[in-house]
């Protein structure tokens, strides 16, 4: 196989991790919406925790993206 083709395939495979990240972020925000809907008074307390969870999960996506970029460009 040509190196360029293998690189493109490798980068594509590397971002399969985004499957899990998509599930995770969806889960975080669905829980956030449910908890705010059930107890609107808790919004201020719950929102920063949700954002923290989002940032930590999103970091996983960026690790995968970084690997893909390194395969493609480095």
């Amino acid at each position: 196989m040509e190196v360029e083709a293998a690189k493109a395939l490798g980068a594509g495979i590397a971002v399969i991790a985004l499957f899990g990240v998509g599930l995770g972020i969806g889960n975080i925000f669905s829980s956030l919406i449910t908890s705010v809907a059930r107890n609107p008074a808790a919004r201020d307390a719950v929102f920063p925790i949700g954002i923290l969870g989002f940032a930590l999960t999103e970091a996983v996506a960026l690790f995968a993206l970084l690997i893909a970029f390194l395969i493609l460009f480095a």
């Binding site: 954002i51 940032a55 930590l56 690790f63 970029f69 460009f73």
Partner: protein, 245 residues
Amino acid sequence: MAAEGKTIDALSQFELTHIVAGFTNSNLYMLIGGLAISALMVLGMQPRARVPGRLQSLAEVSYQFVHNMVDEQVGHEGRKFFPFVFTLFMFVLFGNMLGMLPYAFTFTSHIAVTFTLALVVFILVTAVALALHGMKFFGYFFPEGAPVWLAPIIIPVETISYLSRVVSLSVRLFANMVAGHVMLKVFATFVVLLGSLGGVGLLGAAAPLALNVALVGFEFLVAFLQAYVFAILTCIYLHDAVHLH
């Protein structure tokens, strides 16, 4: 520069260049960041008005934001760590934000910088824990009440998870910054490549351009969020060090 030879050149934006021998563009932006933070705090608090102006509000809001974070996460004993966390937060925030200016250099996009910051946090946290709890600190690696026969599994796992804090803290910030800036550059290159086709390509170039505008907004959010995450994780580690679980 981005579309030279019709390829995507995404990583050249992170290259160090020497301005003077031994003084790189990374150092220059750290210096600018430090001066900007000092200017904000010193000039912002100069008027000491009861009804704050814009600059004073900015200084007060950032101070209060980090103060509340330290108070909530570490507790009352955390007061003495406030200057450290505030400095760390402002330095990372200004590093991320300065990097969003066109032609600017993002010093937080280098693992050497973020790893050093994470190492400072790690050493401080370990030193605080050892100073406050002495030998009891090592009980952290084996929670009370766990069955003794689990020790060969729990102790290595806890030790590795404690040591990997440095790596996860530094790689998270570095990867976010690199991936964000590479993504902006990739979509910007799409605009140039499609636009250079002319005609229909010019129409097609509007889509990545619109996406890039949205991504710049998103990157500002990420720049703030990552500084926040860095600071709050430092607070959580400090809480662990002060209270031991």
